[in-house]
Amino acid sequence: MSAITKTEVIATLAGSRPTRGRFVQRFRRQPIAVGALGFLLLVSAMALLAPWLIPHDPYQQDLARVLQTPSGEHLLGTDELGRDVFSRLIMGARVSLLAALQGTTLAIAIGLPLGLVAGYVRGRVDGAIMIVTDALMALPALVLAMAIVAIWGPSLTNAMVAIGIVTAPRALRLVRSSVLQIREETFIEAARSIGTRSIVIVLRHVLPNVVAPLIVFTAILAGTVMLMEAGLSFLGLGVQPPESSWGAMLGTSFRYISRAPLLAIYPGLAIALTVLALNLVGDGIRESIGKKLQK
């Protein structure tokens, strides 16, 4: 009997779908995650098309019509300077989302390469990186960000850079622990036995297997970054007037909470829902990934 019999193998492959298709298939089966993703896409579209969507100029003040309740003219009413709240909310989406993107990207840009190096190379390099990482994590993130902004001066860019730096340790640790697990896998040993160079091993074998847990983490990190930006802007350390983000809107609205409570609810709700949606999408991605590295 020849060991080279092909027929039954062809039969098994014919019925199955390629891997990439299965991820989408599994994701689609989770209504909550799909709904959350839809919401995020909606908010993103809103932010992108903001200049065309807004009924009024968000910077236009009208001191005769301050703190008005919702009306046909002003869908969500006006704020303390008579500006249309609805328009400001839509513009605020732009700022908040962009800021979240900036902060998250910076955190990953710092955490990913350093985490890869620390996890794969180990030894003294790992030791040095981890001392700095642990030191940074020992300090409360928001307070640290505030301190950095206080030194550099308040601006949205400074705030996002600060937040990026402060949340990078979390990303680094996640990547590192993922790498530590992956490097023990037999296929890494196989790559070494083939003669593949270390850099290539890290980029071709380690990195793609780190991406899965990293994407889940990133979705959730984006939510955290958004909240931090909201916090800094709330305190006046982030976005500066006349620009506004949801966090800033929330901050100023507090002074008028007895007179116009709704003013605080709109931006607060926007932040809460967006962060929730990010977390739910992260959960959905985690569920859809399937057990690739586990048996």
């Binding site: 080279i4 193998v9 891997t19 003669g195």
Partner: protein, 354 residues
């Protein structure tokens, strides 16, 4: 063997430091191993936990550092070579690993995994690599379309075929199979072994076949090497070792393997080894097997036995050859009948006789 010498390990030693219960201990996983592999040969390496057989494989592949001894690959000393210089030698010796579920990168398509050695060692273009991959898949009994899929879509046996395709892609001289079929069920295991035999016939590959399964090893190997606690205690032509073994451990190992035939199995008279495998960090003095050996003598605790020639080919490390009964190259069988009596009357407590 008059064939070309492909691989030669000379007095190879590997040691590493292990942390146990707070203390650091030096473990000599491999001690003075000498082995030769010629073109077209299949050498089976057998042993249990702590025997060092997997350590030996990894030392030959330069996946772990060597403490002492030499390794020669096609005449060149490679044991002390730098990683960079050794890289180009890797195409001569490739490995198939034990676990089919983790030896293939789950994030890579099967075709890319198989092509990886080609990328490292040849200058073939992408199209040429794809052609080679398709040929290799056919060679191992998988359809060409498998190249587009990911490992998770294949069974254990199919994944081992993919691993074999990857290993032979650069046409190595030597394939090291480290328990390559141990994780598979019997039917699949036999198919993979048959595949390895077919490939050997087609391309003249030499195998180092590491396994704990003596029945399988007997089937596929020309020569057999028996390892215990980091040393080779007996080696020789397969038939000679199996039918005229010279070392008590070889006997114990053969005795321990049950034959799937109740009449034959229950009718066997063989001595199985008593006691536990010793701790590699704390090997017994003198002969490492003496704590479990039914024939242990005083000299066994005092001196390590040296390798002596055996009738029919190969060598053995045992004081019974040169002291006590002084077998002088004869097989252990000569002692077995009388040993049975000694066991039941003498002080060999714990020896189990079938």
């Amino acid at each position: 063997m008059n064939q070309e010498l492909l691989l030669s390990a000379d007095d190879l030693s590997v040691a590493f430091t292990a942390k146990r219960a707070g203390r650091s201990q030096r473990v000599h996983a491999l001690r003075g191993v000498t082995l030769q592999l010629h073109r077209g040969e299949t050498v089976g390496i057998v042993g249990e936990s702590g025997s060092g057989k997997s350590t030996f494989a990894r030392a030959l592949m330069r996946l772990i550092p060597i403490e002492g001894g030499r390794i020669e690959l096609a005449g060149e000393e490679v044991g002390g070579m730098s990683t960079r210089r050794f890289r180009k030698h890797r195409r001569r010796i490739q490995m198939v690993f034990q676990d089919p579920y983790s030896s293939l990168d789950p994030s890579m398509r099967v075709g890319d995994s198989i092509a990886e050695p080609l990328k490292v060692h040849t200058g073939l273009s992408r199209g040429e690599r794809e052609e080679r991959v398709a040929d290799l898949l056919e060679k191992v009994g998988l359809p060409r379309a498998a190249a587009e899929r990911h490992p998770e879509e294949f069974s254990g046996g199919q994944r081992q075929r993919i691993a074999i395709a990857r290993a032979i892609s650069v046409e190595p001289d030597i394939l090291v199979c480290d328990e390559a079929v141990s994780a598979l069920d019997v039917s699949t295991q036999n198919q993979i072994i048959a595949l390895l035999e077919e490939l050997r016939g087609i391309s003249g590959l030499s195998y180092l076949f590491i396994s704990h399964d003596l029945a399988v090893v007997r089937h596929i190997s020309d020569r057999v090497v028996v390892m215990y606690l980091g040393q080779i205690i007996e080696e020789g032509p397969t038939e000679r070792v199996y039918s005229s073994f010279a070392h008590p451990y070889t006997q114990a190992l053969l005795a321990a393997i049950p034959i799937p035939d109740p009449v034959a199995q229950r009718g066997r008279s063989a001595l199985i080894a008593r006691g536990d495998l010793p701790d590699p960090a704390n090997p017994p003095s003198g002969c490492a097997f003496r704590t479990r050996c039914p024939f242990a003598m005083e000299i066994c605790a005092q001196q390590e036995p040296v390798a002596t020639r055996v009738e029919g080919g190969g060598s053995v490390r045992c004081h019974l050859q040169t002291s006590g009964p002084q077998l002088g190259g004869r097989p252990l069988g000569a002692l077995m009948a009388s040993a049975g009596d000694a066991a039941s009357t003498g002080g060999n407590e714990g020896v189990d006789d079938r």
